[in-house]
């Protein structure tokens, strides 16, 4: 051990705070070093002086001031929105019991999150957006599959207006629905049809009207976006009694691909011809090439026109509705008691049906929520236990 090392260790040596082997070394050095012995003595005196220092006492009212500050702090905290929110939550309050983060707490928190996600999913299952129209979808899909195109209903996924080339591999189906409906009042049904078409983002392309034997009837052609086709069919059918219905889907995917390929080829051919024409020097050659260019261009126009037509057909499905008004029953003179009874009966049955429907929905919802409620109770119990444990541990 050098003299310098020994000097830096004197302080700790004085406090007996050195490990044994170092203390021995310092002692050995002190044996032979009078200056270090002197320094140690002075250090000891210094420390004694320091220890003599009169201890201070906290000023008068110190504890009271601390208390005042803490209380003021708690008050301020109570007024902050964050604390109010925390106080509103059952598991936390400003200075109340504290939750210790343990695996139990974490598990309880995870359970709560899972229950939340589960609930959202269940609710979405129980009450899908779109209401009644969507609920009836399966029935419609069945009809479509009868026609033999069921597997292709997904083709509707093609967004309207998508460029033909972009999604050439997607199924392209022209969807058509035809139905005959008997309605109570023709005028009301007609205006509803316009509303349905517009509501679905489409339009009424064609309508005709005639009256036979005082009974009005008419044909309406609705063009609606393919994606809304099923929805529109359901809405139209709700107008009255369906007497006939035919839904068909014509798969034109191959024709689409074929047309697109041909257009591409012709365009390339046209480009080549134009290049040739630039280099042609003899008049007959020029004329021949020009004739050929005109033919190719014409062909391109024709094919693109066909493509455009088909895209339109695919994007916009067609619903043709033949609407006829129910022929009025021979009225029994001044007051048709049968008709009144019939109306009463219908109204009564409708009410009963609606009530049953509501009850059914409620029952389904309760059934959907039951497991969630159980999980919540179990999770809450666990959480309470974890919290109590945390308190005891604290």
């Amino acid at each position: 051990m050098t003299h310098e090392e020994a000097r830096t260790w004197l302080s700790a040596f004085l406090d007996a705070a050195l490990p044994d082997h170092e203390a021995v070394q310092v002692e050995a050095h002190l044996e032979g070093c009078s200056s270090c012995r002197e320094e140690l003595a002075q250090l000891r005196t210094t420390v004694t002086l320091l220890q003599e220092v009169e201890p201070m006492q906290a000023p008068e009212g110190f504890a009271a001031e601390v208390r005042r500050r803490i209380e003021r702090l708690a008050q301020a905290a109570q007024h902050s929105p964050w604390t109010r929110l925390r106080a509103a939550l059952p598991w936390s309050s400003g200075s109340g019991p504290v939750v210790r983060w343990s695996w139990r707490t974490a598990a309880a928190a995870a359970a709560v999150v899972m229950v939340g996600v589960f609930t959202v999913n269940l609710l979405r299952e129980a009450a899908p957006p779109g209401g009644v129209a969507r609920v009836k979808m399966p029935e419609l899909a069945l009809d479509v599959s009868k026609v033999g195109e069921g597997a292709r209903t997904t083709a509707q996924a093609v967004p309207p207006g998508a460029a033909p080339g972009e999604a050439a591999f997607l199924r392209r189906v022209i969807r058509t629905g035809q139905m005959a409906i008997e309605v109570e009042r023709f005028d009301a049904a007609a205006s509803r049809l316009f509303a349905i078409a517009e509501g679905a983002g489409g339009f009424v392309a064609d309508s005709s009207f005639s009256e036979e034997d005082g009974v009005p009837r008419g044909t309406f052609v609705l063009r609606v976006p393919a994606a809304r086709f099923s929805e529109v069919v359901v809405q139209v059918e709700k107008l009255g009694t369906v007497q006939r219905r035919q839904i068909s889907g014509q798969d034109v995917t191959e024709e689409f691909i074929d047309l697109e390929a041909r257009v591409r080829n012709l365009a390339r051919q046209e480009a080549r011809l134009l290049a040739l024409m630039d280099r042609a020097t003899k008049i007959p050659d020029l004329l021949a090439i020009e004739g050929e260019v005109a033919r190719v261009r014409g062909e391109i126009e024709r094919l693109t026109g066909r493509l455009r037509f088909m895209t339109n057909k695919v994007d916009l499905a067609t619903v043709q509705a033949e609407v006829s008004q129910k022929p009025k029953k021979a009225s029994g003179g001044f007051w048709d008691i049968n008709r009144t009874l019939e109306r009463v009966r219908t109204a009564f049955l409708n009410t009963v049906r609606q009530m049953l429907g509501a009850a059914e929905s409620l029952a389904a919802l309760a059934a959907a929520l039951l497991p969630v409620a159980l999980l919540v109770i179990v999770g809450w119990r666990l959480f309470l236990r974890a919290t109590r444990r945390g308190d005891r541990a604290a």
């Binding site: 830096t8 406090d15 003595a41 250090l43 003599e52 201070m56 006492q57 906290a58 110190f62 803490i70």
Partner: protein, 181 residues
């Protein structure tokens, strides 16, 4: 100790301010003393010590019983005092200490007052690191291990800071040291 400190801590945690008030009264002198020696004047000492207790109250739920409560409190107080010193470095800490215990021997009391004054003035010339080490060890009587915990530095650092601090004190108090030795 007349009060069960653990019980007081638990009750304070539950929000019982009476219990914490007792804890403050139990520790206020030592904490104030520490703050006074580090900051060098009463105003700052009072601020730092109060800050320390308020912070302790807020952090009480984070206090684990793996260290003594007083050590934990010391750490908070040391940091509060150091924060204050670093924030107001211009403030010159020269002030006479006027608090005494009942002086039974007037001459000894006068002597002690002089020593206190000189030590206090000398402490003011040390860097905060050395000063804190000397105060914690020789004025507050803490062990090296506790100091390491409070200052959050290794034991070796405590040792060397203390050695340098004491050496600086010795150099400043040479006349007193020779007179007494």
């Amino acid at each position: 100790m007349a009060f069960d400190e653990r019980d007081l801590i638990n009750r304070s945690r539950a929000g019982e301010i009476e219990a914490f008030d007792l804890l403050v009264r139990l520790h206020q002198d030592r904490i104030y003393n520490l703050a006074y020696r580090i900051t060098g004047n009463r105003e700052d000492a009072s601020d730092a010590a109060q800050d320390a207790f308020v912070r302790a109250y807020q952090a009480l739920r984070r206090y684990r019983e793996d260290a003594a409560f007083s050590t934990w409190l010391y750490r908070i107080a040391t940091n509060s005092a150091l924060d204050l010193v670093r924030r107001r470095p211009a403030h010159q800490p020269v002030e006479l200490s006027a608090e005494y215990r009942a002086p039974d021997d007037p001459e000894a009391a006068a002597n002690r007052r002089e020593v206190t004054r000189r030590v206090h003035a000398a402490l003011g010339h040390l860097t905060v690191e050395y000063r804190t080490a000397v105060v914690l060890r020789d004025l507050q009587g803490l062990a090296y291990g506790e100091m390491a915990r409070i200052l959050q530095v290794p034991l070796g650092t405590v040792r060397s800071r203390l050695a340098r601090g004491r050496e600086a004190m010795r150099a400043q108090l040479t006349d007193l040291v020779s007179a007494e030795g």
